[in-house]
Symmetry: C2
């Protein structure tokens, strides 16, 4: 029968985890998945995700894959995993994929959502999932800035150090802001890939724009500069959701 | 100058607390408030709420009062409290009230909301705030049942034991169900008072109706019976919110 490759689509609340990737002295999602799968399948399992996600970042549609000699149907594996996993993780789908599928290297696009709560009072029930900003943001100026990141750009200005020498050019397919009721603001971004901390660095700079500390033109100049020192501070992790990985 | 009485309107996420009322070996909201106020005001403080709320129950608008010799403006007290309180509690308002005001005994009505998520898959981001029920509920039959509790009734069938010999007759001013997007169901109830566990016992029985285990007529018979053994199981605490206390 041989080995089979299984793809998982996963939602998790990142609050309690130090990101996806295994670490020595901190609980990570990769560790949780590998331990639960090994328990269920009775064999060592390595689980690879589409990307690491930082500590505290959430996912609605993270994708991961693993290889197993188990003949259990993927739907049975999903059910079994969900019964073993803590209640801040949920496997939405599990399916067989071709041998050459790789959660990270086969990904063509990723979508992220960043949530800001722009109200005087905090909402304690959303405290783990939004960046609370009291001062009224200029959403129109943020939208004007967002339109500037569409298309192909060198995003070095929004890349954190420690991300190696990889090509900093990415193509942004969607970048918009949606105002919802109750002062909730959602910023969506979809690109063929994201540099380290890119969404959070972008959002942090967009908030500077929204606060009037920078104009949309200034934002465009930061993008063009390709200089990290020009950008604003990084937005906190807990407002960020990995929404979908496209293959 | 003498003592002044201050009213607080409070929101809290009940997940981490054993309800409002002080207990020997468990963390309660009353303890948290009294400790923080004593720290801030430099005098012993007793804080009285409109009702106890059970362990795990949330509040958007709990009301409490205390008496103090402090001359600090209530708005300053609210700000100070919010800087001292953990991020799962927020003081929405603080104001002077008359000497004869009592958070519990002056209350004329209370409003509660109970949230059910009626979807196949759980929503991990709402897991602390909804009762997740997979099987599709018959919301129309629940609505028909809700209409039966409007007005004055003996609610003994929905009262938990240990609630003493108080009069079990209450007047329900509002009882309805609102379907929101994404399978979220909100059940609202407003009455001149609620017996112990009354909302949760009502919701547990309404869910039996929604699952087809009981008809609206059967529900009406349970209400009429005034017999706790006739009602359904109690709904879990974490779907319940104290929305507002009316004075």
């Amino acid at each position: 029968m041989g080995e089979k490759k299984i793809k998982l689509v996963i939602a998790y609340d990142g609050s309690a985890y130090h990101g996806w990737q295994r670490q020595q002295n901190a609980l990570t999602l990769q560790q949780v998945f590998e331990e639960r799968l090994e328990k269920m399948l009775g064999e060592p399992v390595s689980v690879f995700a589409s990307g690491r996600t930082d500590a505290g970042v959430h996912a609605q549609g993270q994708v991961a894959h693993f290889t197993t000699s188990s003949q259990l149907d993927p739907s049975v594996i999903a059910k079994g995993l969900n019964s073993l996993l803590p209640d801040d993780i949920f496997v939405r789908e599990a399916m067989y994929v071709a041998e050459d599928f790789h959660a990270r290297y086969s990904a063509r696009r990723k979508s992220y959502e960043y949530r800001i709560l722009n109200t005087m009072a905090p909402d304690i029930f959303q405290r783990r999932y939004v960046w609370h900003i009291r001062k009224k943001l200029d959403n129109e100026e943020i939208r004007r800035s967002l339109s500037l990141v569409l298309g192909e750009h060198d995003f070095s200005a929004f890349r954190s150090s420690g991300s190696g020498n990889r090509n900093p050019v990415r193509t942004m397919y969607r970048a918009d802001l949606i105002e919802q009721k109750g002062g909730l603001i959602k910023i969506f971004m979809e690109a063929d890939g994201f540099l380290r901390h890119m969404v959070r660095n972008l959002v942090g700079t967009l908030v500077e724009v929204g606060l009037g500390k920078m104009t949309a033109e200034g934002f465009g100049a930061v993008l063009k500069s390709a200089d990290r020192r020009m950008a604003g501070p990084r937005a906190p992790a807990h407002g960020l959701f990995l929404v979908k990985v496209h293959y």
